[in-house]
Amino acid sequence: MTDTSGSVLAASALRKEYGKGAALVRAVDDVSLEVAQGESVAIVGPSGCGKSTLLYLLGGLERPTAGTLQLAQRQLEQMPEAGLARLRRRALGFVFQAFHLVDELNALENVELPALLAGASPRKARERATDLLEQVGLEDRAEHLPSALSGGQRQRVAIARALANGPAVVLADEPTGNLDSAATTDVLRLFEQLHADGQTLVVVTHDERIAATADRLITMRDGRFVDETKLTGGTQRTVTEIAGLDG
């Protein structure tokens, strides 16, 4: 068994299968991963290679068929659903490709939602949400509904929401997948800032630019890790250089 004492997130021989017999699909196949506190890991690979499934497994949104999983010193694979929910509440933040904002809640209400679910007082939840919206540069959009925000703004709201409970790890599934170049740059900047602030990040992405900001780049194919590159401390280039927007 791997020594995971220094990791905030650790997976060992993780497997996820769907179907049976001839129709058996191994979406994640014998994957082991350790993510250290403050580390940023990017997982890249073609569509259908199992990246998102792996992310959902790491976040306890899906149960692995086999393998072990540890988050914030807690074993996840046998943990009851309610325990997983409580752990997600305080230790994880999710950023989805499709944003998944609640349509009828404005930006501020979307950001404060995880804190309210965690039992924070409405006043504290509101204060924290206001701070986070300020951090992502959307304080003037706090009262706007998601339908009145651009794609990039929606994703920034989603990132602010992911940070609402000060999670140990932020898991991001194709965070720039639905965004244009300008919005992508905004989101890249935010991730860079998060990384600089010591936030642990696991990002599943197609986007080489976001991958280039990570400490470690893992390539996945057919459910397996096929390559791993350490980009010590991430790239030295700025986001605008990476994005090719520096003129």
Binding site: L61, A85, R86, R90, H100, V102, E104, L113, P114, L116
Partner: protein
């Protein structure tokens, strides 16, 4: 032809694909049309048995009665004399002595009316024996409705005022309403036995049966010769009271007419319940239908074809449900028209008239049209691409509810926000629950009404009020089952509609229990409204149905129990769909977007 075939095929395929929704729609319309059919078919259902019995028993056109009065036998000839000479009288028979006696059999003691008869057949009113033989000394003949209620058969022993008699026969007559419409029940004895049962405390009265030249003029004859039935102290010229055969028929019909009134009210409630349920079903299918409309348009379907497919689908369900409803109504109506064997022959199967079928079909078509028109118009107006991409009708934002809910525990927060998303659906749910609560309250009120209590004191519950109570409880049960199905379906519709926000809440840390509680809370809130509205409306319904609320006193505790009872029922009913919804794999839902 090809287009018709296509329309038919698309309609059938969609029904097969949405079996549960189709079944629910079918069930709702079947129940409504069944109740409506019964209500409409019960109209004057007693006419035929009454006429048959009247003909078979040489039933009187007028029955003249002198109530039991001390020394009545001395004056009887004088008091009936004007009637014997009255114009229009074709024949008379009697007078026969009548009295009251305590009938005891198998530990049951009830008051009975006795009528003294000769052994020879009478000229008018020859009670038709359905079992046994006619009266003889010591041998009593019991009116069939009364015999049924007491469980008496030929050969049984009864006591009248402590004197032993044997049941010689069982018979029917139209000279008096059958039991339980007329209470106390009737026992025919010989003249001698009837007179022997009389005492100074229980004096005799007399009846005289009359045939008129024109039986249809019986009511005007009655009005022209009206009297008072009972002895007036200090008066020597008490006139006999008269009852026309039409009066007696109307009284017999009361049994059914009360049922009919209850049924028509309940069928209206069922129609409302069906509309509420259908609105929920249609609403939950709306987004799906809009997408389907987009798809049909994308492959070349015209808006007309699209509307035709939707209409065919809903019409098919509505007409199938109508056919089933009318058939069930036909089968069930005779059970409700059972008159307690008070008249000769079985009641006829209630006729299904063209009008009643037309009315039921119109209701069904309206339902189909309602279910069709909105998605059809929406689909026709929406561009193909937009219809294809159309998400579910976007939820409404209600800022004050959202702000207020932030101060609530997580389960309530989720519940309130789910209600706020679809307020109209919650109101429809509240409406259907209110209807069920109304019926329960009306039934409780009826059960504790003076009428039922007084009638029940006479004998068991085989009275008109007892029949109505049973009917109301039966219909309440039907309404409750439908409201329960509706609650389950509404919860499921909410689960489906809210699967993305609930999955998201779980991803953000809400536990399955909190989600289940939130979904259940979203149904409990309409339940609270239903319980609070249902109590006063139920009492009002009892009043509308002809009851006297002031004479009914359902225990306050019972009424108060309706509120927690409703909430517990809703919580139990919604727990399973809510739990299933809360346990759907989060990743599948989030990935599918």
């Amino acid at each position: 032809m090809g287009r018709l075939l296509l329309t038919w095929r698309l309609a059938i395929r969609d029904i097969k694909r949405r079996r549960v929704q189709a079944a629910l729609l079918l069930l709702m319309i079947v129940t409504t049309t069944t109740t409506l059919t019964i209500g409409l078919a019960l109209h004057k259902v007693t006419d035929s048995p009454f006429a048959r019995t009247r003909a078979a028993t040489m039933g009187p056109d007028i029955v003249a009665e002198l109530g039991p009065t001390p020394g009545a036998s001395r004056d009887v000839a004088r008091q009936f004399a004007p009637l014997l000479r009255a114009p229009g009288v074709a024949a008379t028979d009697g007078p026969y002595p009548i009295g009251f006696a305590r009938l005891t059999t198998r530990h049951i003691g009830v008051l009975a009316e006795t009528e003294g008869r000769d052994a020879a057949p009478a000229v008018i009113d020859r009670p038709a024996l359905t079992a046994g033989r006619w009266v003889s000394p010591g041998g009593a003949v019991i009116e069939r409705g009364f015999a049924d209620a007491l469980g008496l058969h030929v050969g049984n022993r009864i006591d009248l005022n402590g004197r032993a008699f044997r049941v010689a026969g069982i018979a029917v007559s139209t000279a008096q309403c059958f039991y339980p419409v007329s209470s106390p029940g009737l026992v025919w004895l010989t003249r001698g036995d009837t007179e022997a049962l009389a005492s100074s405390a229980q004096p005799l009265g007399y009846i005289l049966n009359l045939k008129l030249d024109d039986p249809s003029s019986a009511e005007s004859f009655e009005n022209g010769n009206a009297g008072t039935a009972f002895y007036n102290a200090g008066s020597n010229d008490t006139k006999p009271s008269l009852s026309s055969w039409q009066d007696i028929q109307r009284q017999d019909f009361k049994v059914i007419s009360v049922d009919q009134k209850v049924l028509l009210i309940v069928s209206t409630l069922l129609a409302l319940l069906a509309i509420a349920s259908i609105a929920v079903v249609v609403g939950s299918r709306m987004a799906e239908q809009t997408r389907r409309v987009g798809l049909l348009k994308a492959v070349g379907g015209t808006p007309l074809l699209v509307a035709a497919v939707l209409l065919a689908e809903n019409l098919l369900l509505a007409l199938a449900a109508t056919a089933v409803g009318v058939a069930i109504g036909q089968l069930v109506a005779p059970v409700l028209t059972n008159l307690g064997n008070g008249l000769l022959g079985s009641p006829p199967t209630p006729p299904v008239t063209v009008t009643s079928v037309a009315e039921v079909v119109i209701v069904a078509i309206l339902v189909a049209a309602c279910a069709t028109v909105v998605p059809a118009i929406r689909g026709a107006r929406t561009s193909t691409i937009r219809a294809l991409n159309d998400p579910a009708h976007p939820p409404r934002r209600r800022p004050w509810l959202i702000s207020m809910s932030a101060w609530l525990p997580v389960a309530l927060l989720l519940g309130v926000r789910l209600v706020a998303r679809r307020v109209r659906r919650s109101l429809l749910t509240a409406a259907s629950m209110t209807i069920a609560v109304m019926m329960v309250v009306a039934a409780l009120t009826l059960e504790h009404s003076d009428e039922v209590r007084n009638r029940a004191a006479v004998i068991g519950t085989t009275t008109v009020a007892g029949r109505v109570t049973h009917l109301v409880f039966l219909l309440s049960a039907i309404l409750i089952v439908l409201a329960a199905l509706n609650a389950i379906f509404t919860t499921w519709a909410t689960v489906i509609d809210a699967q993305r926000p609930t999955a998201l809440a779980r991803a953000l840390g809400a536990t399955p229990r909190q989600i289940t509680a939130g979904l259940a809370t979203a149904q409990l809130m309409p339940g609270v409204l239903a319980a609070c509205l249902g109590i006063p409306l139920g009492l009002a319904l009892y009043g509308v149905a002809g009851g006297h609320v002031e004479q009914a006193s359902p225990p306050l505790l019972w009424l108060a129990a309706v509120i927690p009872g409703t909430l517990i029922a809703v919580a139990v009913l919604t727990a399973i769909p809510a739990r299933i919804g809360a346990r759907r794999p989060v990743a599948d839902v989030l990935r599918s977007d």
